[in-house]
């Protein structure tokens, strides 16, 4: 508990130490990317379903905001009040996620990756070729967050605290869910779906419910992301970005909900600063190689490396220690 209080204090005080760039482009962006990756952690880490369509779900929420709310593109922009727009966007994202779940849960393991990847790519091509609703290649621009008097949500500090609130709420929700009845059932289904079915659990329903929960998480982050960017286009929901979410979750580690946020921070820092060390254009090679290194060295991501290091340190000290158990590792082969 103590470490969470320290972490919360650090995160709350963060904007007072750094400038606007670090508050907005690094801090808020990493928190939101981390939240999208958190929705993948719920599915992959607890449910054993590695989905590549979580960014698509976030994108659906983002497009909903641009379509139902205001934009400056003269395509759609129905001008609903912001709270209607936000509610509708998250609800539609959850419904879309449940449908994706319903399509993909009939198959297992790597089939889930293939089907969700196909869904993600289809959505990308669909919004790119559809002009009446999604304005095709250009997308929808001029999406504004709501204003409350003098408080403008896209100012760095307010937006940072909004992102922090979203991330914190879902972090706690996922952390709670892990030990709640539903979360335990989900993890048991991941480890042995047949046995759980024999015990009378409705396996597909639990999986679809996990997709719905992940959809709410990804959808909320998607709403904030479209406010962050002020626009949304097919490039926002492209395959490369969808894969970035997977990279973030894998680099951080899917074992614990803090993993995706660590991954997102590393990713955003690399994106902004590693390119200064090497050729600016070769970011994808760097991040791809980091990803490969993590997959080869530590299936549990940076969290796994951290634990290994800690165990190595403890092994050096003479007093005997209980071996740490990891009941919920990202799993594996059947």
């Amino acid at each position: 508990m103590g470490k969470y209080i320290v972490l919360a204090a650090l995160l709350l005080a963060y904007p007072t130490f750094v400038g606007d760039f670090f508050t907005f482009q690094i801090g808020a962006y990493a928190l939101l990317l981390g939240t999208v990756a958190l929705s993948l952690q719920v599915l992959g880490g607890y449910g054993g379903m590695v989905s590549l369509s979580q960014l698509t779900v976030a994108g659906i929420a983002g497009y909903t905001v641009a379509i139902l709310g205001d934009n400056t593109t003269n395509v759609m922009g129905l001008g609903w009040p912001w709270w209607c727009v936000v509610t509708a966007a998250i609800a539609i994202a959850a419904i879309a996620a449940s449908l994706i779940g319903a399509i993909s849960v009939r198959t297992e393991g790597i089939y889930t990756i293939m089907i969700t990847l196909a869904i993600a790519v289809s959505f990308f091509y669909f919004v790119r070729q559809n002009y009446p609703v999604f304005n095709g290649f250009t997308g929808l621009a001029g999406v504004e967050p709501p204003r409350f008097g003098a408080l403008y949500l896209r100012d760095p500090a307010p937006f940072y605290y909004l992102s922090l609130a979203i991330a914190a709420v879902f972090f706690w929700a996922v952390r709670y869910e892990r030990h709640a009845t539903f979360g335990l059932a989900l993890q048991a289904i991941r480890d042995n779906p047949r046995r759980m079915a024999a015990l009378g659990y409705n396996v597909p329903l639990h999986r679809v419910a996990a997709h719905a929960l992940a959809g709410v998480i990804a959808g909320t982050a998607g709403v904030a992301l479209v406010w962050f960017n002020g626009r949304i286009s097919p490039g926002t929901v492209g395959v490369d970005v969808a894969i970035d979410i997977l990279i973030i979750a894998v680099i951080g580690g899917m074992r614990h909900p803090i993993g995706p946020f660590i991954g997102a921070l590393v990713f955003v820092l690399l994106e902004n600063f590693a390119i200064d060390l090497i050729d600016r254009e070769r970011f994808n090679t760097v991040i791809g190689l980091c990803f490969l290194a993590i997959v080869f060295l530590s299936p549990d991501g940076l969290l796994g490396l951290f634990d290994k290091a800690r165990q190595a340190v403890r092994a050096d000290t003479p007093k005997p220690q209980e071996p740490r158990k990891h009941p919920d590792k990202l799993h594996h082969n059947r």
Partner: protein, 332 residues
């Protein structure tokens, strides 16, 4: 069995309707309903020739998957790599055929090297293999962008493939009574021909050779194949090389029909994924059936409802997954 008869019946009827629509002269009322016959036949041929290209790409993907349970998400990158290598060789030697052969060999060797150096280390760990192929595809796409830049490359296929061929299909009859025959790009017909030849060669390889027999046995039961004294690793390398080589070869064939540019890798990866999901994972005839279905759906979608074309492809995938999760010709 009864359901299979029903399916066969539906498929035969649909095929008969298509053949009739293509060869008969359309009466006016049909033109009113469906638009001009030329558009319909052109769309149909575009769909079928695109299916040929999709089959070339997806057959390798499904072959690898069927035997090794390795979802090679770098398959699109191999298509693109084949296209670029083929382009370089064809430009330097001035021989397009040499480019196609070189693309096959170079990408097949790359695939074999990947199988030996990377995938063999994580045999049986499907998820990690898939993650590795994702990582490889990211790095490969970026390095190809660095090497060949974002330019679009256009192949120079041999002379005889240029121009159009007159097909024995009457599009309209002029008021003067003269029959107007359909002209169709020769190269696209060539693509279809190549796909059929490759399909037959694959069938012969799988059904008439010793290694093909081992591959089929391995698809059914890997452990038993290994237990009966076959060098499974060698079979894996050969199949991976053929699968990758086909993707590289398709890069030249498809790159000559359209062009070679960054982003094509994703397009053909999606095509392979959907074709294989629809057709049945691991089945080469399934890849052919899926390719025809998806090729036709894509072209008809593009021609008749341009801004919702992808939805048609997507719906086919969803319906197949709902009715037969293992795909049209896949085994459960």
């Amino acid at each position: 069995m009864r359901q299979e008869h029903l399916t066969m019946g539906v498929v035969t009827c649909l095929a008969a309707v298509f053949v009739a629509l293509i060869f008969m002269v359309w009466p006016d009322w049909l033109v009113d309903v469906m638009g001009r016959k030329k558009q319909f036949v052109n769309t149909f041929l575009n769909g079928i020739t695109l299916a040929g290209l999709y089959f070339l790409v997806a057959s390798g993907f499904t072959l690898v998957f069927g035997l090794m349970r390795n979802v090679n998400l770098a398959h699109g990158a191999m298509y693109l790599l084949g296209g670029y290598i083929g382009y370089e060789i064809a430009e330097r030697t001035g021989n397009w055929y040499l480019g196609a052969v070189a693309a096959f060999i170079a990408v097949a060797l790359t695939g074999a090297a990947l199988q030996v150096a990377v995938f063999r280390r994580m045999q049986g760990d499907d998820l990690r293999q898939t993650l590795v192929t994702i990582g490889i595809s990211i790095v490969a796409a970026d390095l190809m962008l660095a090497t060949w830049s974002g330019t679009t490359y256009q192949f120079q296929p041999p002379e005889w493939l240029f121009g159009a061929t007159q097909l024995p299909v009457i599009t309209t009859i002029k008021p003067s009574g003269a029959e107007v025959y359909l002209n169709y790009p020769t190269y696209r017909l060539f693509v279809l021909g190549v796909a059929i030849v490759v399909g037959i060669l694959l069938w012969l390889f799988l059904n008439r050779t010793r290694i093909g027999m081992m591959v089929r046995a391995g698809v059914d039961d890997r452990e038993m194949l290994a237990a009966s004294g076959v060098n499974v690793n060698l079979v894996f390398v050969i199949v991976f090389a053929i699968g990758a080589g086909l993707a590289g070869f398709a890069g030249v064939i498809g790159g000559s029909a359209l062009s070679i540019a960054p982003g094509e890798d994703i397009r053909y990866l999606l095509a392979s994924l959907v074709v294989v999901i629809v057709g049945g994972m691991g089945s080469v005839p399934g890849a052919a059936a899926g390719a025809i279905l998806i090729g036709l759906a894509e072209q008809f979608g593009l021609a008749y409802f341009p801004t919702y074309g992808v939805v048609l492809t997507f719906l086919i995938m969803v319906i197949v997954l709902a009715v037969r999760p293992q795909g049209l010709m896949g085994r459960s």
